[in-house]
Every structure is written in structure tokens, then in C-alpha cells.
């Protein structure tokens, strides 16, 4: 992964983790293309990156759930940047705080945002990178995707599905030299989790971003951040189902 090898696309650029990643990448000299839902916020982010680091930053509007718009977004992005080396997918949402089993519309939206939208974008980017014979796709998943929990299984199943998809994509693309990177953060102190967890237990977006960029540069396959979550989830995964189903975890 090199700064001069093409732009880096950040999908869901205004998420706090994405912003922190963008800042680090900008200091390293990467050219950035921000895909965000809120164009004003993307614009501010671009101004910030330019003013702080003199970075080259472009913005495009991304509506993750509007799958029909993704092909033209990708075409326009390629036209604008010429060369794209990789994509970091950083959007996602927890969905409803309590899961209403009968509310399929809401459930579907959460699944679509956290899984289908990721696949939709991968369908645009993966073929391009495969042909190019280099590059990377990195997706911010979640530890919630490791096991279905009572509290957040809709979100968790989408993240889990994404991890499986990426796992297969990784195998498919490795011969072309394209890396597929699955990032699994634990609790991160962002707008998504503010008030849900004591701040002490949540990692800062900046520290998570540092680990993510390191993982991108090394081309790691799958990693947890902070590292301790690897062991926490190992413990979570080995609990027998008949016990786990009774547990209320926070």
C-alpha cells in the first residue's frame, strides 16, 4: 500500500473512525475520496484535511441504501480520481435499540445497511481491483458479528454475514494480489455508542484508527481492535449454546 498508487476511497467518511483514519492517511500523503451521506459534513472534513495536512481530498455523495446509485458513483469516482487503490468501508448503524421481532422493515434496513450495501459496493470495486491485480478492500465489521446475541442480533448477523462474504472474497481475490481486510472493533467511543458504555471501556476513534491504518499497511486478513477483543470473543464463542442463550451480556 503506497500513497502514490491511487486514491483511497472512504465510504461512510463522516463516521468518527473514518475521520480519524482519514487524518492519519492524509499525514502519510494519501489522496482521498470521501463518500459520505451528508455532503456538508464531507465538505468540512475535506477542508479540515486540506487545511491541516495539505491533503488532496475529493468528495462524492454516497447513499448506501440506494443500490442503484452505486455503479454511477463508482464510474464518476474513477473518472475523477483516475486511479483508485482501495476502499475502506466505515458506515454502519446499530439499528433499533430494542429489536421488534415483527418490524421487518426496520430489520431489513439494518441488514441492508450493514451487509447488502457493503456487498453492493464490493461488486463495483472488486472487479476493478481484480483486473488491476493489486489493491485492497477493507471493511469495518464488529465483534458483534462473531456470535448472535440477544441484545443486537440483527446488527450482529449483518456484520457476521459481511465477515463471511469478505472471507470468501478474500480467497477469490488473493491470486490477483488484492487484499481483503476485515476489521473487528469492540466498543468504540462514537456517536453510535455514546451513553451505552462507560467511556473507560470504549476505545477512542483515534487509537482504533491507528491500529486500522497499521493493519491496512500490513495487509492483514482479519484483526480485532483493541487486540484484547480477540480473546474476549474467543471466550464468547466457546460458551455452549445452551448456556449462552440464557446470558444477558452488556
Amino acid at each position: 500500500m503506497r500513497p502514490d498508487d491511487g486514491s483511497v476511497v472512504i465510504a461512510g467518511a463522516t463516521s468518527e473512525i473514518a475521520q480519524a483514519c482519514a487524518r492519519i492517511l492524509a499525514t502519510k500523503g494519501y489522496r482521498l475520496l470521501l463518500w459520505g451521506r451528508n455532503e456538508e459534513e464531507s465538505r468540512r472534513m475535506a477542508l479540515d484535511l486540506k487545511a491541516r495536512y495539505g491533503a488532496e481530498v475529493a468528495c462524492k455523495k454516497l447513499d448506501a441504501l440506494d443500490f442503484e446509485s452505486h455503479p454511477s458513483l463508482w464510474r464518476d469516482s474513477l473518472k475523477e480520481c483516475g486511479n483508485i487503490q482501495g476502499m475502506l468501508v466505515a458506515f454502519g448503524a446499530l439499528g433499533a435499540p430494542t429489536i421488534d421481532l415483527s418490524d421487518f422493515a426496520r430489520t431489513r434496513e439494518t441488514l441492508d445497511l450493514n451487509f447488502t450495501a457493503v456487498v453492493s459496493l464490493a461488486c463495483q470495486v472488486a472487479p476493478y481491483l481484480e483486473e488491476r491485480q493489486r489493491g485492497w478492500i477493507a471493511v469495518i465489521g464488529s465483534v458483534a458479528g462473531d456470535r448472535g446475541r440477544r441484545e443486537n442480533f440483527v446488527y450482529g448477523s449483518a456484520k457476521g454475514a459481511a465477515a463471511l462474504y469478505l472471507q470468501g472474497l478474500r480467497a477469490r481475490l488473493w491470486r490477483s494480489g488484492v487484499k481483503v481486510i476485515t476489521i473487528k472493533p469492540g466498543f468504540v467511543d462514537t456517536r453510535m455508542t455514546h451513553g451505552l458504555v462507560p467511556a473507560r471501556l470504549a476505545a477512542s476513534p483515534e487509537s482504533v484508527a491507528r491500529r486500522i491504518v497499521r493493519g491496512l499497511e500490513r495487509g492483514e486478513d482479519v484483526f480485532y481492535v483493541p487486540w484484547i477483543w480477540r480473546w474476549i470473543m474467543f471466550g464468547v464463542r466457546i460458551v455452549p449454546e445452551r448456556i449462552f442463550k440464557r446470558m444477558a451480556l452488556r
Binding site: 468518527e16 477542508l47 479540515d48
Partner: protein
């Protein structure tokens, strides 16, 4: 709900906090009462709100523009000087006015109309602000400056966040040659002598601050060290800040009178014996206490108050003598005293500085510090024509405040015009009974 406090750790209030992650997430409809909070460096209750919401601005941290040719900078109000200064200095620019710590937000600098070691020449932060963007109580966003809605501009500067939420700040920086300051030390062996040295330093040095020892007994009372500085040529990179942080609130006995007396004595000897002139990194010169993270925890669970007053030029000597007499006779635990000469008053309607001398007294909430004593200090300050700084205050009474701030009625008129329902309110505004009609 989170328990929040100012830097003095007094008072502590349980507050509902919201933390918008982007400018577009700001809403005046968050609550019926809200106040913005930056890095929480005001000492008292200015950034607390137990009756509504406290809006944390730390994630509103986009730098919108920085022109390295002209030194014009515009940024969201949650950006801190700690983040900005290394950036600007590298480009050869610096904020003309900075407070005693780099851990303040731009919004906080405006709301408290902070002053620094350069006030005698450069005035307060408001002098360096060109334009502000505000979110008003009715949800509208406005920009104000000296030419556009000037009344709102000067009500917001020093307005303790009560005119609306400051969202963006545009500042004019000044050129600097390096990140190195040449510091000149002057010594006073007693109160009068140290005040003389403050006078001299203020006449000669662009940056000047004095430390006084009010615990020393006898003739040494009021001895002090005056530190004057100026930028010199050198490298433009700030030294990285190594912070040793106080991890927990210290036990109440840690900071005590004999210990502080001994510390003061050692500090005085050390500084008085040091080289008269030397080069120091600008971080150490402007923000000496930043190296000790969370130093306010040294004051323990009960916390402390910083009583910062200013007296007009004509009454400085008499006023300071009267105040220090009270401190001595009541045996007040004054653990840190700084003094500075101020330049002319600014145009912020609730701004603190006036032409004269300011004195800041750090006092732990201990037996020898009583509200009665503080009221007596208030009376002295009023008698000598001075006032107390709201950004450090935690206990001024409503009437005392109104006497000290004669431009309050003008400020209140602007406040009512943009926020008649007092949607922007805080523990401070309620304590000072700003919502009531009394003027």
C-alpha cells in the same frame, strides 16, 4: 447523566450530556436548557447544567481554513489550541492571545474572552477574533462580527456561552519567528518590590506574568518572580509535551500550608538564582502547568477556588495591600498567586479585563476559607472599582455581579433579543439570577 465539574472541582453537578459528532447534528432543540462545554477549563459552574443538557463540543473539530500567507484561520469551535498551535507555529504563525493552558477550545476562548501574558499590549482574545458563527436559540445560524450584528458579537465575546452556541471562530494570527521564547526573570523581595518589577516588565516585555508568594511571613510577604518573554529566532517545531498526570484525587492532607510554604520558598530561591535570561520552549513558557496533567486533582476531593480579580490602575497598590492584609489576617490558604498588568478594557460586554492589575488566588476549600471571607474580598474589590472573573468564579452573588459588571444591562438586552426564553442557560446563569428581571 454524568457528574461534571469545572477545573476547580467545585461545584459538581450531575448533567445530561450530548456529544454531537458533526456540525449538522447541532440542534437548539436538544433541551429546554443547554450550555456548550469545551475542555472544561473554566473553574466554576460556567459549563455545568443540571436543568437541561450540556453539549460537548470536542468532536466539532474541523479546521476549515488556514491561510499561511495572511495568518487568517477559521475553525469549528471545538478545536483546541493544543491541536492548532503546533500547526500554526510550523507555518510561522501564532495566536496573539492565549491563556495559561493549551487545553482550551476556540469556543471557550471566545466565551470567556480569555486573556494571556500579552494582555498589556494585545488585549484579550476578542481583539483577535474577526467573525463568529453562532447557533441561536430559535435554531437559526448567524454570523456576526464588528460590522455585522456587532451587538451580538460583543455580547458573545465574554458572554459565557449564553448568547447561543458558538460553532465557528475566525481569528487573525500574528507572525512568529520560532517556537522559542527568551525569558527574562525579575525578582522582588516583597510585595511592593514585586509590583514594581511587574511594572517594569510590562513596559519592556511583550509577554509578562508574575508569581507571588503570599505564604511567606514577615518582610518576605509578597516576594515574587516576574517572568517576561519575547520570541526569538529558532526552530519552529513545538517540543512534544511529556505529561506526567496526577492519576487520582489526592488526599486532602497532601496540599497543606507548611508544604506549600516550603515549596514556595524553594521555588523562589530556584528562580531567583537562575540565569536572568534564557531560552525556553514556548510550550513551557506559555503553558507551564500543562506538563502536570490533571494538576487540579492535587487539591483533592473538596477542590479549590480561583479568586481572580482586577483593580483599576489608580487603586492597585492600596487595593492589593488591603486584600493581602485580609488574607494575612484571616490566614487564608492561598496556594498560588499570579499577578499581571492589564491593558485597556475590551468591548466584550461581560469581559473581565480592565486597565489595571489582575491577581489570581488559588485557594483550597478548607477551614480557613469561608464564604464570609470571600464576600469581604468582593466588597474590597467593589470598593476599589474592580471585578471578579466569571470564568474562574463559582460563588459570586447576583447583586455583587451586577455591581461589578456595569455593562450587564446592555448585555442582557442583547441576550433577551436572541434568547428570550433563556434556552441557553447554565449553573452560572441561574446562580447569578440572570433570568429574573432584577438588574
Amino acid at each position: 447523566m454524568v457528574e461534571l465539574a469545572g477545573w476547580g472541582n467545585y461545584p459538581r453537578k450531575s448533567c445530561r450530556v450530548v456529544r454531537p459528532a458533526a456540525s449538522s447534528e447541532l440542534s437548539a432543540a436538544s433541551a429546554s436548557s443547554m450550555i456548550a462545554r469545551g475542555l472544561g477549563r473554566s473553574y466554576g459552574d460556567a459549563a455545568l447544567n443540571s436543568q437541561g443538557a450540556v453539549v460537548l463540543t470536542e468532536r466539532l473539530d474541523h479546521l476549515l481554513s488556514f491561510d499561511r500567507e495572511t495568518g487568517l484561520l477559521e475553525a469549528e469551535a471545538g478545536m483546541s489550541l493544543a491541536t492548532l498551535i503546533p500547526l500554526t507555529v510550523e507555518g510561522g504563525w501564532m495566536f496573539p492571545v492565549v491563556p495559561g493552558t493549551r487545553f482550551v477550545t476556540l469556543g471557550g476562548c471566545v466565551a470567556a474572552d480569555i486573556h494571556g501574558k500579552s494582555h498589556h499590549r494585545d488585549g484579550s482574545f476578542g481583539n483577535t477574533v474577526l467573525e463568529l458563527a453562532l447557533l441561536l436559540a430559535d435554531g437559526t445560524r448567524v454570523r456576526c462580527s464588528r460590522d455585522k450584528r456587532a451587538d451580538l458579537f460583543w455580547a458573545t465575546i465574554g458572554g459565557m456561552g449564553l448568547t447561543g452556541m458558538i460553532t465557528e471562530v475566525r481569528v487573525q494570527l500574528q507572525r512568529v519567528s520560532s517556537a522559542i521564547v527568551e525569558e527574562q526573570i525579575r525578582v522582588g523581595r516583597n510585595l511592593e518590590e514585586t509590583l514594581d518589577q511587574v511594572e517594569t516588565s510590562s513596559a519592556e516585555d511583550p509577554y509578562s506574568i508574575a508569581w507571588f508568594d503570599l505564604l511567606a511571613g514577615g518582610d518576605a510577604f509578597g516576594r515574587g518572580i516576574v517572568s517576561g518573554g519575547r520570541f526569538v529566532e529558532g526552530e519552529r517545531r513545538l517540543r512534544p509535551l511529556q505529561i506526567f498526570s496526577v492519576p487520582v484525587e489526592a488526599p486532602n492532607f497532601l496540599l497543606n500550608r507548611p508544604a506549600l510554604r516550603a515549596f514556595n520558598h524553594l521555588y523562589f530561591q530556584m528562580k531567583a538564582g537562575a540565569l536572568e535570561k534564557r531560552h525556553v520552549p514556548m510550550g513551557a513558557f506559555f503553558f507551564p502547568l500543562d506538563a502536570l496533567g490533571n494538576w487540579n486533582r492535587l487539591y483533592g476531593r473538596r477542590g479549590f477556588i480561583q479568586y481572580q480579580l482586577v483593580l483599576p490602575l489608580s487603586s492597585v497598590r492600596d487595593g492589593f495591600r488591603t486584600i493581602t492584609d485580609v488574607i494575612r489576617s484571616r490566614n487564608c490558604p492561598v496556594y498560588l498567586t499570579t499577578v499581571k498588568k492589564f491593558g485597556p478594557e475590551g468591548e466584550g460586554l461581560l469581559s473581565f479585563p480592565m486597565e489595571g492589575y489582575t491577581m489570581a488566588l488559588d485557594m483550597p476549600w478548607q477551614r480557613n476559607l469561608t464564604e464570609e471571607t470571600l464576600r469581604e474580598l468582593d466588597r474590597i474589590v467593589i470598593d476599589f472599582g474592580g471585578r471578579v472573573y466569571l470564568a474562574k468564579d463559582a460563588r459570586l452573588a447576583p447583586q455583587t455581579f451586577r455591581t461589578m459588571y456595569p455593562r450587564y444591562p446592555n448585555w442582557r438586552a442583547v441576550k433577551i433579543s436572541v434568547d428570550p426564553e433563556f434556552r441557553f442557560s447554565s449553573e452560572l446563569s441561574r446562580r447569578l439570577e440572570m433570568e429574573s428581571d432584577a438588574t
